[in-house]
């Protein structure tokens, strides 16, 4: 199954991409990645929700399947009754209508009460999961995520304070996605789902994102984490995830709120590493920073709002 294949394939793909990530060159990722990676950006089998790599994503998957099978059960009964009527009570088969059958309080009470019971049965586990999802206390790492038209800015807080960079669509995808580019997207690894510099987080750690936006509403979504939240100008939204240890790898998603021309072209990529590898990455990144006065100035031009030409949709 695709799902299993992904789990085997993923670490290899991660290592190759990890080498490329620091250089911000998707083309290097192309050299190291394999076609199979581009077919499996998440743990979905292609027609169902991904099981994901966090406890929350597992709970969501289980809830989804629970509700799905309840719906299938109801569908079998209701559609069964409809199909039986369509086959059994045909005028062409000589069926005669029972015009006295107009109303039955007993039956109507039954088919009002039973759905209520089923709904309560679904609502209870859903409410339990909501309580967990909303509990952002005791996070170990916070990252401020800012949406722009059309890129993401990641500013690390806590022990990684000072790391601050933008994450945009990888160059090879960007070339291929132009109108009449003549490049077959199938030849581009992780087409539209790779970035120059992914977010890097440690596994087994409660990571809290603080989401906001500098222009319009965006939404940060990684299906494998069961994590989606809007980034809204003037608001700071919270979101947390904790990737199960052993599930290190690259996880991909996209902006999930229409944000203008290039809404479809601002992917989100998260590189999940072991806590030790993450610490090394933090040290490397801090070492790469210039003396303390300069970093504040350096990112500023990049952080400025988009130039005037994007002020209109056209």
């Amino acid at each position: 199954m695709n799902l299993k294949r992904f789990r085997k394939m993923s670490p290899g793909g991660c290592r190759s991409l990890r080498g490329a990530a620091g250089l911000g060159a998707g083309l290097l990722g192309f050299a190291g990645g394999s076609f199979a990676d581009s077919m499996s950006p998440n743990t979905s089998n292609g027609y169902n929700l991904p099981m994901g790599v966090t406890d929350i994503s597992h709970e969501i998957y289980d809830l989804h399947m629970l509700v799905f099978w309840i719906c299938v059960g109801i569908a079998v009964v209701v559609f069964g009754a409809m199909i039986y009527s369509l086959l059994r009570f045909r005028k062409s088969q000589g069926a005669i209508a029972d015009t006295s059958m107009v109303h039955s309080t007993k039956v109507e009470i039954i088919w009002t009460v039973i759905p209520v019971i089923i709904l309560v049965f679904m609502a209870v586990p859903a409410a339990e999961t909501i309580l967990k999802m909303e509990d952002t206390r005791n996070s170990e790492l916070s990252i401020r995520v800012t949406g722009y038209q059309w890129k993401w800015q990641y500013q690390y807080l806590n022990d990684a304070e000072g790391i601050d960079y933008f994450s945009t669509l990888a160059q090879d995808s960007n070339f291929a996605r132009q109108l009449h580019s003549g490049i077959d997207p199938r030849t581009v690894p992780n087409y539209l789902l790779s970035v120059d510099k992914p977010m890097v987080v440690p596994s087994g750690t409660k990571v809290r994102l603080l989401l906001t936006s500098m222009d319009v509403i965006h939404a940060w979504w990684i299906p494998d984490f069961g994590a989606k939240r809007d980034a809204i100008p003037g608001f700071i939204n919270e979101l947390w995830f904790k990737v199960t240890p052993g599930k290190e790898g690259i996880y991909r998603g996209q902006c999930a709120a229409l944000c203008g021309r290039d809404h479809g072209f601002m992917p989100i990529v998260v590189d999940v590493r072991t806590p030790d590898d993450f610490k090394k990455w933090v040290v490397e990144q801090k070492a790469a920073l210039n003396p303390p006065t300069l970093p504040a100035a350096a990112p500023a031009p990049a952080a400025a709002p988009e130039p005037v030409k994007t002020a209109r949709l056209n």
Binding site: C71, S181, L211, Q254
Partner: protein, 535 residues
């Protein structure tokens, strides 16, 4: 009642006025109903053409046909045209034709306002569609018009606001007309609980319209102020709140969803008993269920906004209230099924569309329950799963009901039967293609494809191609509908007064000849027991 009759009598002519004046100055409910329906059909094809562009671009990964800006213009205007131009005017057209005929009234209560409410629409949509030719291009920020994105629009922005205002005014006047007609012009003896179920569904819809269209007008007016008069209703930098727009918009938007489905419920509740040759099962509980859905529609708007970051208590409240809607909706589905149970079913085109509605609307209902589950909604929200869900309730739901209604009542309007084989072909091909079109979109959404994107990662290619093929097929097949309707207007086998001889059509509309005379029920009809559905 007598007063209304006298007013109608003053205006009495045996023949309609000739030429363009008949339509420009129309006050006859049948003429206005016809204009609404023709307008709606034209808009259905305009919006459909935009959908074809969308599906053509999504046929394979990469951008082949349109740039992302034009793509966003297509999705935005497809939604606006289909909602405000196709589905809503079709229901108003049906109400214009059928409400007076079903309650035994000579016309709508406010005929001149009726004329005005129709003639606003061509202007509204001329303004909306002409935005494709203004600097900055057409509106591309989504039909939901969320700020700050919509404020980035070019010259199309004030035109959008003005067009939305015109549509809103038109809808409000249409709704007032329906309410006043139903409340004042029922024939003697027709108490509210004896009124046909289609009129009931429309009465409740009309109250929803009056309640929420002004809310939309307020929301877009605040947008206009923010854009041109430097207010900060939704501008965070000025102390405003972009989320407030979403709350106000969806307070309109969710009842709007039911505005587009309650009349469909009414239609299906008329068609299924006729061709089951059996009274509607639990007719009174059907009315209460419709009213419950109408009430609940006002307290569920938050379910569009779970991913916006909502207090936990609000998430729980909106999840519970949304799930509650499944109860009255379930009652309706069970009642329709019970109506067919132990009936004597025949499968004329209207019945086929009603049965198609029953199955496929229920599928949309199931995905609706799934979407109500907040944790899972975080994965579904703004993905193709949502696109699949609302198209299932709107296309094989609302649109199938409208087509069923046309096939049900058009012999009464034109006096001619249509080509049954053509209509049945239209149904079967539509049903096949609509499922090929929308069912794979569930898979796409679950696998992680966001909506409103012009291009996608390659693992979404296969299902997108299947969906596009379904889309092209569905679009082409609708030409059969236009042919069937035009043929029926031009001629055909003469229809009897009862039209569906051998079936069990019940109601005053079947007591007058086919085609319905230009002026009907100039004196209030006496209600025969056979024309009353409930005792």
């Amino acid at each position: 009642m007598a007063n209304a009759h006298e007013i109608a009598h003053d205006d009495h002519h045996d023949q309609p006025p000739s030429g363009i004046k008949r339509w420009l100055f129309a006050t006859n409910h049948k003429d206005i109903g016809t204009m609404y329906l023709v307008f709606s059909l034209i808009m259905f094809f305009v919006g459909g053409a935009m959908a074809m562009v969308i599906r053509a671009e999504l046929f394979q990964p990469g951008l082949q046909l349109v740039d992302p800006v034009l793509f966003n213009q297509m999705t935005t205007n497809h939604a606006l045209v289909m909602i405000f131009g196709a589905v809503m005017p079709a229901f108003v057209g049906l109400a214009n034709w059928m409400v007076p005929l079903q309650i035994g009234a000579p016309d709508m209560a406010l005929p001149r306002m009726n004329n005005f409410s129709f003639w606003l629409l061509p202007f509204a949509f001329t303004i909306l569609l002409s935005t494709f030719f203004v600097p900055g291009g057409a509106i591309a920020g989504g039909w939901t018009m969320y700020p700050p994105l919509v404020l980035q629009s070019g010259d199309s922005f004030p035109m959008l606001i003005f067009a939305v205002h015109l549509m809103g005014v038109s809808s409000i006047m249409g709704a007032i007309n329906v309410i006043v007609t139903i409340m004042n012009m029922r024939t003697p003896g027709m108490t509210l609980l004896k009124m046909p179920i289609f009129c009931w569904a429309w009465l409740i819809t009309a109250y929803l319209l009056i309640a929420v269209m002004p809310v939309l007008a307020g929301a877009v007016t605040m947008l206009l102020m923010d854009h041109f008069f430097k207010t900060s209703f939704f501008n965070a930098a000025g102390g405003g709140d972009p989320l407030m727009f979403e709350h106000v918009f969806w307070f309109f938007g969710h009842p709007e969803v039911y505005i587009m489905i309650l009349p469909a419920f009414g239609i299906v509740s008329e068609i299924i008993p006729t061709f089951s040759r059996k009274p509607l099962f639990g007719a009174t509980s059907m009315i209460y269920a419709t009213a419950s859905i109408g009430f609940l529609s006002f307290i569920v708007w938050g379910h569009h906004m779970f991913a916006d970051g909502m207090p936990m208590a609000a998430q729980l409240f909106f999840m519970m209230s949304t799930m509650l809607i499944a109860v009255p909706t379930g009652v309706k589905v069970f009642n329709w099924t019970a109506t067919m149970w132990r009936g004597s079913l025949s499968f004329e085109p209207p019945m086929l569309f009603a049965i198609g509605f029953l199955f496929m609307f229920t599928i949309g209902g199931f995905s609706g329950v799934m979407l109500a589950i907040v944790p899972a909604d975080f994965q579904y929200q703004n993905s193709y799963f949502v696109v699949a869900h609302f198209h299932y309730v709107l296309v094989p739901g609302a649109v199938f009901a409208i087509m069923g209604a046309v096939y049900y009542w058009i012999p009464k309007w034109t006096g001619n039967m249509y080509n049954m084989t053509l209509a049945k072909t239209h149904f079967w091909l539509s049903t096949i293609f609509v499922n090929v079109l929308f069912f794979p979109q569930h898979f796409l959404g679950l696998a992680g494809m966001p909506r409103r994107v012009p291009d996608y990662a390659v693992q979404f290619s296969d299902w997108n191609m299947v969906s596009s093929i379904g889309g092209f097929g569905f679009g082409l097949v609708q030409i059969l509908f236009a042919i069937a309707v035009i043929q029926c207007i031009r001629g055909g086998k003469k229809a009897s007064a009862e039209v569906w001889n051998g079936a069990r059509p019940v109601g005053l509309e079947w007591s007058i000849p086919s085609p319905a005379p230009y002026h009907s029920f100039t004196t209030p009809p006496v209600l025969e027991p056979a024309e009353v559905r409930r005792s």
